[in-house]
Symmetry: C2
């Protein structure tokens, strides 16, 4: 790519086939939001839906809304809808609980489906909760079980015939590195293992086709690129061929075969319903529909194409304009190996991110020195990339980032 | 109690010390809502809070709200606040996840705290999810573990020195029967067992003092008498003396000692924080504050006094006015043994409840023949009890309940 001007960016925005989607989001004026990989912005439709949920569905219709507003069916309805985006068939996905809880379910299920194997294989820089949940599960099951942690590049080699299930994050939360799900699933199947994927940083960010990749199990969250709202419930995918063959242990009444019979003993629900556990937080759950609906209109190939350009431009501009200040790219340069985010390491990354935030460029920081920027093509413009780097250059040239206030640590970053 | 007139009820309402609270709820005009034991009505404050959460906290402040709006601290802040109502000390309770997930955590924790024992004791008509979760947990742990189910009246006798933990619902979801938490905890401790309580139908309904009762562990939901909103997150209590001595296995990143260090391996958070697992559904979670705030103003002794009167009146009026139609009381007649709900069995209970709903009296039905009515003293008036029974008598006298439409089954009742 040749060096760009701001005008080039404006011209690219003018012909962007996705440009109309930005208006569907309630972005604050003047803010350059490059943190949709942490919390997606609010779809404008969410404000009306929240009012309807609280005032009419809860306030006026009360308990009847379990039927009339379809609350009980929401995990299934949203799961099927999300499945269309992620290459799952109807009945293979529900939206429920948190990503962590769902990780526990899929790992438990995988061990049940592959009962002669005792090893879970994971990447050592998986999002930590994936590893933590595996540790919690294996701590219950006894010493014959084993958690094998290897580097992302070594996953294929580490897939040996003792592995029950491999679980990796398709797009790494820190580096944005994109793994090849199909290659991992193929190798897993060749050695008799199951392949489970964490799609937290994939869903809505890159094209995903779970069934084409041969994925056995998957989880992911709805509040990043899918714009479902803060902490909105997560999703869980179980390929149809694995349903009804083993049970996950968080066997709550929503996963019972006949929840409203209130039977004394558990009977597993059929199909994906056994993945449900308890009563869901309806307000947060229902809001997931707003962001999801936008995606079902969109051509994900166009999303991917724009995402690659935004990320390529950001890398090029940071390196050309700020290269002197010691930023080190912490994301694959090759777009094929990258999700929709770009990270740079810098020993003062924490302060620099805070100085950028003070200039209305929102990225985030992940310890120890990772500055992380997400590029969500539905609302990030090419000119935003130019302006973000321009402000970064300002901060570095002026020494603004060295101010004391930017070095003071917040509770959550 | 002598037979009442409607005027007597109006007079009692006029001098009710809790009468001003009704105005804090957005109840539809003319509706008699006796289902707060299933879904509490909407506190009026919830509408403004929802708008603020969606438009300002999410829409404008975006990712910053994790700090500025205190999202990350919500489970702790709400837990401490709820603890004041339920007799827990600060740091002994958080609001998080679903009741079912929290049951799994407390039962796992109890087995970890009492590692030489292998038996979980429960009531056979606990709310089913309590039993289902115990089954899921024990299915993972192996054949040496055992689930012992006995009738509620036999709990004390069944507390023998092989029991690791007894878990019962203080107020039974069907019958409203109130167990004596202190007697159960005392007996549990005498035999070396732990006592865990499900407070779903207690919190906000009856005075609860977890520490005075000697409870070791507890869970409960926020969306019934606490009016937290549909499916709002549940709570979990771990007495301080049991903290940091064992781990629950749903060890997600929110329960890590340093969640934002993103360490590869799990280190258990201190105190109640280890009970947290994954990212919480913030919209649903934050709304819990609206109902909870009302309760912190209230004298629970007054709530209990009114609750007893409402329930006594309902029993007396149904029996005197509708006794001829075969209603059988399915709730202890003695108020000391009763929560804040009254159930009657009737072989056509399903149709009768639907006919009542058509006349704007909302109760609910639990299979096989239980008609259930909750009496929440903050918004149910004495005159509502009179009018509800009056309409029930109308339905029975006119034969209205026999209509076909009331016998057709809905998906969720």
């Amino acid at each position: 790519m040749t060096i760009l001007t701001r005008d080039d960016c404006l011209k690219m925005d003018a012909v962007d086939p996705l440009k109309t989607y930005r208006d569907a989001f309630a972005l604050p004026d003047g803010l350059i939001y490059l943190d949709g990989n942490s919390l997606g912005p609010q779809p404008k439709a969410a404000a009306d839906l929240a009012a309807d949920l609280v005032k009419r569905q809860w306030g006026q219709d009360l308990i009847k809304s379990w039927n009339t507003a379809g609350w009980f069916e929401l995990p299934y309805k949203l799961g099927d809808k999300l499945g269309r985006l992620l290459g799952a068939n109807p009945g293979e996905m529900i939206v429920t609980d948190s990503t962590g809880i769902n990780i526990y379910k899929v790992l438990s299920l995988a061990l049940g489906l592959n009962p002669d194997r005792k090893t879970i294989l994971m990447e050592n820089d998986n999002f930590p909760t994936d590893v933590y949940m595996a540790e919690g599960l294996l701590g219950q099951l006894g010493d014959e079980y084993d958690l094998k942690l290897v580097a992302g590049d070594d996953i294929l080699d580490a897939l040996t015939d003792d592995v029950a299930v491999v679980m990796v994050t398709e797009v790494n939360y820190k580096t944005g590195r994109l793994l090849d799900m199909k290659a991992i699933a193929d190798k897993a199947h060749a050695v008799g293992a199951l392949a489970a994927f964490d799609l937290c940083h994939s869903a809505g960010a890159v094209p995903v086709d779970l069934n084409a990749a041969g994925a056995d199990l998957a989880v992911g969250c709805s509040y990043k690129y899918l714009n479902g709202g803060p902490g909105a419930p997560a999703f869980i995918f179980v390929a149809e061929r694995h349903q009804n063959k083993a049970q996950q242990p968080l066997s709550g009444w929503w996963g019972h075969k006949a929840p409203f019979e209130f039977e004394t003993r558990y009977r597993a629900g059929e199909g994906i319903s056994q993945m449900a556990s308890g009563t869901q937080p309806i307000l947060s759950l229902a809001m997931v529909d707003c962001g999801l609906s936008l995606f079902l209109d969109v051509d994900m190939a166009q999303v991917r194409q724009k995402s690659v350009k935004l990320c390529d431009m950001f890398i090029e501009l940071v390196e050309s304009r700020c290269g002197a200040w010691g930023f080190e790219l912490n994301t694959p340069r090759d777009a094929v190996k990258r999700g929709s985010q770009v990270s740079f390491n810098h020993s003062d990354g924490y302060a620099i991110v805070k100085a950028l935030i003070a200039k209305d460029v929102i990225g985030d920081f992940r310890a120890p020195q990772n500055m992380r920027f997400g590029f969500a093509p539905l609302y990030v413009r090419y000119v935003d990339v130019w302006d973000a780097v321009d402000r970064l250059a300002d901060i570095m040239e002026s020494g603004e980032w060295q101010k004391e206030i930017y070095h003071a640590r917040d509770a959550v970053t």
